[in-house]
Symmetry: D2
Subunit: 257 residues, 4 copies
């Protein structure tokens, strides 16, 4: 019943992945067509996808814009291994303090999975250093092709995945060249897009994944759910991420340590 999401700790014991799913949660409460597809919010549907594939190997927490600190207090972030992020119309309403905390935590090793329109979210923009601009158009068929079949995020994924209807995102996508490119999409109108991109920043692993427009039921599609579950496993930091030392280093400091 799905891939196991557990990861071993230093002593070989199994430790659940602590995933926090953040959603601005605006469309679903305002726009009837979106509410029909995601009645409890996109975040809950994503959580169900993780539960389906990762079982009790994942602990799921939800956080939304309207909560204090957007649900992302320092305590929550410290207890988060992987942060998923869906946002679209309210990027500017996210507080800069929370963004700074998220970014710092990613650099320290927390996995980060911005989805679809989260390419314009403040944490992703800060971590990329580019504008992340794109071209777009609604209601196209998307074909998602694997260009890195040995990558953990591609495991069990058919080639191609057919998404019957989805918002087109087209190149040029103004990102740094991904450290690993896993998926490239084409659209019925002819555009292409680097739709599944891995980045490492500091000790953290980032997977940007473009499918997921709010008016299309993309997160109910089995292959998409599997990809996101795969990504959560891939992005989860290992137990023993080395701590960094920085600053003045006396000669031979490492010999006496």
């Amino acid at each position: 019943m799905g891939l196991a999401g557990s990861r071993p700790d230093e002593r070989g014991a199994t430790v659940a992945i602590r995933a926090t799913i953040w959603n601005e949660y605006v469309h679903e409460r305002r726009d009837a067509p979106v509410a029909k597809i995601y009645p409890n919010g996109i975040h809950v549907t994503l959580g169900e996808a993780l539960r389906e594939h990762l079982g009790d190997e994942v602990e799921i927490r939800y956080a939304t814009l309207d909560q204090p600190c957007h649900g992302l207090t320092t305590e929550v972030l410290e207890q988060t291994d992987v942060l998923l992020w869906w946002g679209h119309v309210a990027h500017r309403d996210v507080s800069d303090e929370v963004v700074a905390d998220v970014v710092e935590r990613v650099r320290a090793g927390m996995g980060f999975i911005p989805l679809h329109s989260a390419l314009k979210s403040k944490p992703f923009l800060t971590l990329m250093g580019t504008t992340c601009r794109i071209n777009y158009r609604h209601d196209e068929r998307e074909l998602l092709w694997t260009v890195n079949p040995g990558h953990p995020i591609a495991q069990g994924i058919p080639h191609p995945v057919i998404i019957p209807e989805q918002e087109m995102y087209g190149e040029f996508f103004d990102i740094p060249a991904p450290d690993e490119l896993v998926f490239i999409s084409s659209f019925s109108g002819g555009e292409v897009f680097r739709s599944g991109c891995c980045f490492r920043r500091g000790s953290g692993r980032i997977f940007y994944f473009s499918p997921g427009h709010e008016t299309n039921p993309v997160y109910h599609q089995p292959e998409i759910r599997r990809i996101i579950a795969n990504a959560v496993r891939w992005a989860c930091p290992d137990e023993a991420v080395p701590e960094q030392r920085y600053g003045h280093a006396p000669a031979g400091w490492f010999e006496t340590s």
Copy 2:
């Protein structure tokens, strides 16, 4: 009248790029439809493209399968800065000795531009270490999109380039992840392809470029000609490629040099 192809030597003087265009030259002498498009051979059309864009900044030499050493003697290779390669049905007829010479010369700094079906040529297979296998289908519209707009090979190229009719090459394309990915193509049937890929091997620069099926007049298309000319400039080694030293290195060898 096109971009200047000259490169400066150590003393700032202009030195022409010495391009050798290799073609197996089989289809054009055997298949009437191909002969109609490329009456003098694909190599000559490619040479005209270089002349058009690089003017007298390029010296062009042709070499074909049926010549002694396939036209690629040690002398020719030593006088070649960039080798373009078109082959399709006669890959196996290329002698292993010539292949070894080509590969060695690329590693020493010669630029190498395999075109279209040359993905299955012996030199490219040897340099990649992978199978370079693909999916294919004839007679589709190809759209070529730039995903690296600051790259020298993308200069002056519209986004997208529309190739009205071309053989579809589809992922998965079994190559190492390119060092720089410049173009991604989509096809009317929905497939995608990493169609413009840069690799560095040893001191040599390699640009694989997929457009160019023999029954479609792709090398007569202005944007494609510009891309290939851009690639010749990019792939041309600098005058002062450092020589490598290898082998036993006595302690402090570099202090006395």
Copy 3:
């Protein structure tokens, strides 16, 4: 008690990693100083390292040059998830048929971990497409620095690792730019080396790791053992590596599948 090496299968059950450790096993039977350090062969010491860190989550098989098919029959390779390779003086004695089988299996997904002088082994040379030449000198102190602290292979590894005495390998190391660079070493004589390099070829993951000269007890050092165990886990293919299709693709082939 070491990190757990198990990986989940499609149904979430734990499956052991099947590691095959190949050693040319020449020095240890011929050179007294080497025999003293590795009385049962380098392969057995490496196997003990995997057992120490991965416990019964790994199944270990040994194979050596002098066995029929060098111990690497098709059956053995088909039952191998990760192949470790140590060779030095007998690279040429490895049969081209076995090399072809190994290379094909790596491309299909088998992990491959060439160690130290295996940079000149036939499978690694074939997979890289470069000469893999280096500079070298005996008996230097090596410092191994992590430049990718979030990488699974760096987990639990101090920064730097101090190897009291080891053969110096120095740049230029003629390899393709690694897909991920994990470790860089310096030596007491001043040279540097890209000592821990990840490559993906086909569906297979390759980790080249340079420490391990036969006259120094490097594979008895705890940090080195941990790195190699980490690498075995990283290189192990997932259960559900997508199968590739290649060749002629009728229009819409993916819609009917």
Copy 4:
């Protein structure tokens, strides 16, 4: 007499590279030992290095912190092809407006060469999205090794370059993995550093180069001067950088253009 720095425009005519050298210019006016090495400021010494290698193929402009807009008005930036940046103690005094202008211009194609302690400059931090933290120590011998001998920035550079005395910068260097790694340094104390790193962001090329501590005469050293001149040529945008379009894209927009 140096390499020619000219680049061809669309019509093949030679156009000079417009380099602007920015220096915070604090140490040289305050610290006698620095003033002795760089009596007219580090920027002027860097300018002399460009003149020496690029001759009249480069137009040089200087800009310093104390000028209005730090000398980097919109007009100046629009007339700059490559911006060199040296800063150390006054990073915080650089206005955020100027930083935003610089970053935007890099994304549009301007080359950017942050030197030494400019790894903590605001424009570089913004473009990288990481902390760029390091370890450091004064007065060590640095050896600079080429790991990408075919790269234009490595042309004519000995292997290694010996810098008799320089500030040690040691890993972990918290940057994204460079798109191309050209140089790795070692220091007498044993540390290593990725000392020459290429990045592409938007249409712009960035080369971070670490040598250049203010109390060591590094920018008077011939090989270092050549590297910086090489980098200016490499980072200079081509004449015909494609303009990007972003935003809503009506179906078939590219067919009518």
